[in-house]
């Protein structure tokens, strides 16, 4: 058990990211309010990105921008996670915009943000 805690403390970025992921996941699943769901989704995504980026960090090294022509790989951190997270951030903003647009339309139609209620109302309606 002390080992477990010690490891968690060493990997504190990952630990925080995982906790954040859990919270975001739960918010996404459990809240019936659409806006809350979307925020939860964003937390979840951010958590994964934090997790990923922490994989690339190496203590005492610099950002992978080569200065003075010194391209010694042992001086810079890992550029791969950064690139992947960049892609991820753009994906998550796209998805957020889409979900928010859906929320607007649903609100226009049903005047509520509660997904359960919306589902119930939609069931009553005829196409």
């Amino acid at each position: 058990m002390p080992d477990f805690l010690q490891n968690l403390l060493t990997n504190y970025y990952e630990t925080a990211a995982v906790i954040l992921f859990g919270i975001g996941f739960t918010t996404l699943l459990m809240h019936r309010n659409l806006i809350k769901k979307i925020v939860g989704l964003n937390f979840m995504d951010s958590a994964v990105y934090l997790f990923l980026a922490s994989k690339g960090y190496i203590a005492g090294r610099l950002a992978p921008i080569i200065t003075d022509g010194d391209s010694d790989p042992s001086k810079y951190v890992n550029p791969i996670p950064t690139g992947l997270v960049l892609t991820g951030i753009v994906v998550s903003v796209s998805v957020t915009a889409f979900l928010l647009a859906l929320t607007c339309r649903l609100y226009d139609r049903f005047h509520t943000l509660d997904i359960d209620e919306i589902t119930h109302l939609a069931r009553k309606e005829r196409d």
Binding site: A16, T27, V39, F43, S54, V93
Partner: protein, 92 residues
């Protein structure tokens, strides 16, 4: 583990929990904005300046703006709130 990182990470978790429990939608979006800002500082401490710029512009800027625009549309906030919200987010 530096104290600074620890505080920032703890702040992230507090933000996430408080969004989950708060009842005010506007408040949760503002919390989300501050979450994004802290995140962009964290990218800097992780030596990823590219991400810091993108997160500040996209996460704290455009995404939050879209949230505000949505809230405005669904009449969750008054016009004044919307304006002030947009002001803040554009400063980044």
């Amino acid at each position: 583990m530096t104290l600074f990182d620890g505080i920032l990470l703890a702040f992230l978790i507090i933000c996430a929990i408080s969004v989950s429990v708060t009842r005010n939608l506007l408040a949760s979006i503002i919390i989300y904005m501050s979450f994004s800002l802290i995140m962009s500082v964290l990218w800097l401490t992780l030596e990823a300046p590219d991400l810091a710029i993108t997160e500040a512009a996209v996460g704290a800027g455009v995404t939050s703006l879209l949230f505000f625009a949505t809230l405005k549309k669904i009449h969750a906030i008054k016009a004044e709130d919307a304006k002030s919200g947009e002001d803040e987010s554009d400063e980044e």
